[in-house]
Amino acid sequence: MAESSPAPVVEGRPARRTPRARRSAAAASEGKTAALGRRAVALSRFYSGKIETVPKVPVRSLRDFALWYTPGVAEVSRAIQSDPERSFDLTGRWNTIAIVTDGSRVLGLGDIGPRAALPVMEGKALLFKWLGGVDAVPLPIHAATPEAFVATVEAIAPAFGGINLEDIASPKCFGILEELQRRLPIPVWHDDQLGTAASTIAGVLNALELTHRSVREIRTVLLGAGAANLVTARLLLALGHDPHRLSVVDQRGVLDAERDDVDELMVRNPWKYRIALQTDGGGRTGDFAHAVAGADVLLAASTPDPTTIRPEHVRSMAPSPIVFALANPVPEIWPAVATAAGAAIVATGRSDFPNQVNNSLIFPSVFRGVLDARARSIPDEIVLAAARELALHAHDQGLSTTHLLPTMEEVAVFPHVAAAVGEAAVRLGIARRPLSREEYYARARQLMDRSGRLVRALARARLTPPMPSAKALPERNEG
């Protein structure tokens, strides 16, 4: 909207101040991240890990072990042996998932290996319990090849009601997810693909509503062709987006069916190849600037550099453009810069700006839902059901350009999303335990609330030591 947009300003200041504002925001953010890192190391040493196993049955004396363990337990095993599905009734399997990683793409750290990935997986397990009431086992594994990884996860699956794949490099994450989904009779989820894509889709649905657009008519550019964006593209197509108005752009430019490297993609990254064929560049070829001109929606999940998307890119888009700059920790364009360049709606991956696209809004509820339904799988329809419910919740709470999605404080959304997921599983015929939407909701609410009560009770009883102050816990000898 080059004609109608005002001269670029940042927070009311003239445009020439933009680089300085940009630098100071980046520097402040870096300083804050470093301080949090030092404190996290100190606390990790103090608590020595973030989760532990806690009994869920009474133990009055050792005599009770005749029931919980041998000889009584043998009958429980026999029952499962004669009907394997009973493992969901008679053990904790119904509520237990594995968080599996090979540590090949952890946060922004890259390939740090399984041992170094463990603190991240512990944190994820804590989130699963706190937000979703899910018992999650952190399980970084050493696997030399994707085949070995798949075989290992298949081998441990009998203990779990679901598998959460985490922080696995693209493109091998696609093949691993597809193969495990094919082999296992339980839901397998890769958060970096599905969780991020689902929360992105939720944000897009509401952004379209706010700007009176339909997914069937828009032109969309996806900048970045990694785990999240390739799934976002797939989900947009499933929602009826015209493939010939969808351009995926990577470092080499628009991904079209005749690009020089397309045969190489067929061999090395068939998922990207598939999108190249389906969209054929969305009617564009060439570079990002060429693709984004006239687009309604720009979804960037690419490089954490605030100059990746330039104000002129935003200005070249259709009127009231929608810009999601989702790279972490630094978005592809600072929200103020995008807004000044005419963006009607801006979302990022960060909690310190409005409209955080956050997979934590999705994964605890999705797992709560599929576990309560004892679902056999987790098809895209489930992912879309979660996205729609998330979008609907923000809508019901009052949609605006700065309230596109629920925030993490709006915890009421979680059981609603879980119920929508459970209901979708029943509709798709993949629920081992079909219940009504109200029953799924009540159950999710109860299990989610219980986690909070549990954590607070442990703290009250001083079984969890209170968090030491920064002064009481020196940081300088850590690291």
């Binding site: 005749e258 045969d263 190489e264 067929m266 061999v267 090395r268």
Partner: protein, 176 residues
Amino acid sequence: MNASNETAASGPADTPTVPIHLRPARPADVPALVPLLMRLKRLNEEFDPLLKVRDDAERQADEVLRAQLSDPKAVILAAEGVGADKDKVVGFVRALVRERPFYTPEWEGVIVDIYLLPLYRRRGVGEYLLRETSAALKAKGAGVVTAEFPAQNEIASRFYAKRGFRPIQLLHARSL
């Protein structure tokens, strides 16, 4: 070249309707064939460092194609698109009839290049190309049809295996 190669690919019931028109290549096609041949060689490069494409490969492609277009032992077919892609060469096959002095059948038709632009794949075109090429090779006296492709190319391997091909000779290599 058998006249049947001139027909568009929409034949009787057992022939799937394919969105191409297959015909013998002509010298005028060479500028359009070279980029396709180069795409195939660059794909092969992905599979093995000993298949690294030469700096002068484009000029070589031009020369080889021009020479073989007048070679009675070569079969070069051009696949043209239909509809919006009418008159655009979207794929090609290059095959050579070679003598087998010690084995029977004594003439072998070797498919050395077969390439289709991505949007024309998985629509029965490859199968059609293979069938027409086999017929053309047979017409030139070949009693067996073979295909050459990089050992690591599993997609090609599956394509031919599905159509009754099996490995009969292996080519092992090491640098000197």
